[in-house]
Amino acid sequence: MVNGSLDYGKAEAEFMYLLNNEIDKFNAFFMEQEEDFVIRHKELPQRIQKVIDKWGPNGTQPSEMEYKEEMAKIRKEIVNFHGEMVLLMNYSNVNYTGLAKILKKYDKRTGGVLRLPVIQKVLEQPFFTTDLISKLVKECETTIESVFPPLRKKRNGGKMAVPGEGIFKNTVAALLTMQEIRRGSSTYSHFSLPPLNLPDFDVIQSLQVPSPIPIP
């Protein structure tokens, strides 16, 4: 058996040790963020209600100006909140991909069989079980619909807002990166993801802020 020698077992154990450290970090960060999101998710509708109650047309101090301003702020906040949650899911996904690749490489280099059992465990880790976050995202979308004015059909064709801000920029980057990662590899196997073809790839790419660091 390959694992007969103590050395091999030791090396593998060390590898697992490092891997588990990283997984711990993922879990810790993820759960920390998740907790924050759970709290904010609950608070948001209450804040919206407060604004409506205070400055809305039937509120205690009706003021269109205040109402508009506050609602604009809230809209921005909700959209960013939504973005943050999606980015957390992205975090989860990217790390999972990383782990899968590392394990695959390990098996390839050392002839081990760690990949399958370990990845099964990873699938159950808190950081990968993003169902709750996904649910919060969907609920957030519903809330957003309620606070946004009805959609106007006429879109601003020419001018496309370039996302300079953190969240939007990261979201665009995440999408493009995802496509990049899945583009195709030399070791395409049963366990690889199919290539991703975003239908409006051009549009999304145009949203990307050019990198300040020139890449030759």
Partner: protein, 433 residues
């Protein structure tokens, strides 16, 4: 005996002798006190069952992790504990902390399946504390916050998930055999180390014997349970390092968390709602105290540490928006001046936000798809591996050719062709080797 007065001094709150469930391991810097053995040992005999009993009363703060160092070996590191009586875990923690002094164990890599067994997660330094914290985490239930502070100094990362992995690995890797031999070793050590204290020796050995006997069987159990454990929404932690009671406990009461302070709690919306309710009952986020909230919530696996941090987050979340509201009122006058300008930019802003939303939704959609794909792929991989192992189990020689065909067929169905095929065969060769 002579230590008893000392013990009571250190434990002003008094120790609950009947509380055997308390098993957190806390390393404090209290001077070592041989503990009053008699009181504890009756508890020890029940330790396994006792530990399994959840919902035990709160432990006193500053539970001490280890045996009094009768052997000078571990001396300064340990302090006597009141919670001592409770555990098997204590013994394992102690053992673990003693391990660094034993070279053979240090050479063991921490993550061999042994990490499932607390004592095995050897290696001095980090692991020492890790193990303690790990141990700490295992001994769940309601731990007072005091148990945590000491551990805050330690690098708490590691060891815990290791056990999961190791358990899962044990099938494919030759690690377990090593592990299984270990329990015997530390029983020997335990004997060596405790020889000084007559009163202790017998009982510790008994305990360790229990632990050791339990371990090998529980290694497998724990691997299964770790899976179930990690799936629990409330439970943030992965496998408890200690086999024995923890595993048993998990079987009996899966939802309860086995962590004292440092273990992460996974806050679900339902849990948070219960929290908010409790806070509101106590008069709002400013007036509510963690202790009060904890009492009101009556959630077993929740510790005061969890509540404290959650309350802090909650207060921040509420406080910030309120301050911005105040400041916006002051800006009213300046806003009116810019009203016309505002309207245009307001629309633009809204459009920009919509665009952002679209992109975010798209990313979310893709992430969901990707995640589902990954889950399916792994599931199929696991299924194929299972089929594969069945085949090879049945007939070695025949198995390889028929397996090739089988996996070939299935691989085609999945649409992979050679890639997966060769990988599977490759894996098979490796396991065979």
């Amino acid at each position: 005996m002579e230590t008893r007065p000392a013990l009571s001094i250190q434990r002003p709150g008094g120790r609950q002798l009947d509380n055997c469930g308390a098993s957190g391991a806390l390393r404090s810097s209290l001077p070592v006190l041989p503990t009053p053995q008699e009181e504890k040992y009756p508890n020890f005999s029940h330790s396994q069952q006792v530990f399994v009993e959840r919902g035990l009363k709160q432990r006193l703060p500053a539970v001490i992790s280890s045996l009094p160092s009768n052997s000078g070996v571990v001396g300064h590191m340990f302090s006597s504990s009141s919670g001592f009586c409770n555990d098997l875990h204590f013994s394992s923690v102690q053992q673990q902390e003693k391990y660094p002094n034993q070279p053979p164990f240090i050479s063991q890599s921490p993550n061999t399946g042994s990490s499932v067994l607390v004592p095995h997660s050897v290696d001095s330094g980090v692991l020492q504390s890790t193990a303690s914290s790990q141990y700490n985490k295992d001994n769940n239930d309601l731990w007072c916050t005091n148990t945590i502070p000491d551990f805050l100094d330690f690098p708490i990362n590691t060891a815990i998930p290791n056990s999961q992995f190791d358990c899962s690995n044990s099938g494919g890797v030759g690690v377990p055999p090593e592990d299984l031999s270990k329990p015997n070793d530390w029983q020997d050590w335990a004997d060596q180390l405790i020889t000084d204290n007559d009163a202790l020796t017998s009982d510790w050995n008994e305990l360790l014997a229990d632990a050791n006997v339990a371990d090998p069987e529980l290694l497998c159990q724990s691997s299964k349970q770790s899976t179930s454990i990690s799936m629990q929404p409330h439970i943030s932690q992965q496998l408890p390092a200690t086999p024995g009671e923890t595993c048993n406990a998990d079987v009996q009461s899966p939802p309860t968390n086995f962590a004292p302070g440092k273990q992460r709690m996974r806050w679900t919306p339902e849990l948070h709602e219960a929290f908010v309710e409790a806070v509101n009952k106590l008069g709002g986020s400013e007036r509510a105290t963690p202790k009060g909230v904890l009492k009101l919530m009556k959630v077993e696996s929740l510790t005061i540490y969890h509540v404290k941090s959650h309350l802090q987050k909650y207060r921040t979340a509420r406080y910030k928006p309120e301050t911005t509201e105040e400041s916006s009122e002051r800006k009213t006058t300046s806003i009116e001046e810019l009203s016309s300008l505002d309207l245009k930019t307001g629309i633009e802003i809204t459009e920009a936000l919509r665009l952002q939303m679209e992109v975010q939704k798209r990313l979310h959609e893709q992430l969901e798809i990707q995640r589902n794909l990954q889950l399916r792929i792994e599931e199929q991989g696991r299924y194929l591996q299972m089929m594969f192992e069945k085949q090879s189990g049945m007939n070695v020689l025949k198995g390889s050719s028929s397996t090739n065909e089988n996996s070939g067929v299935e691989a085609d169905n999945v649409g992979t062709g050679f890639g997966e095929n060769s990988q599977m065969v490759g894996e098979k060769k490796i396991t065979r080797g």
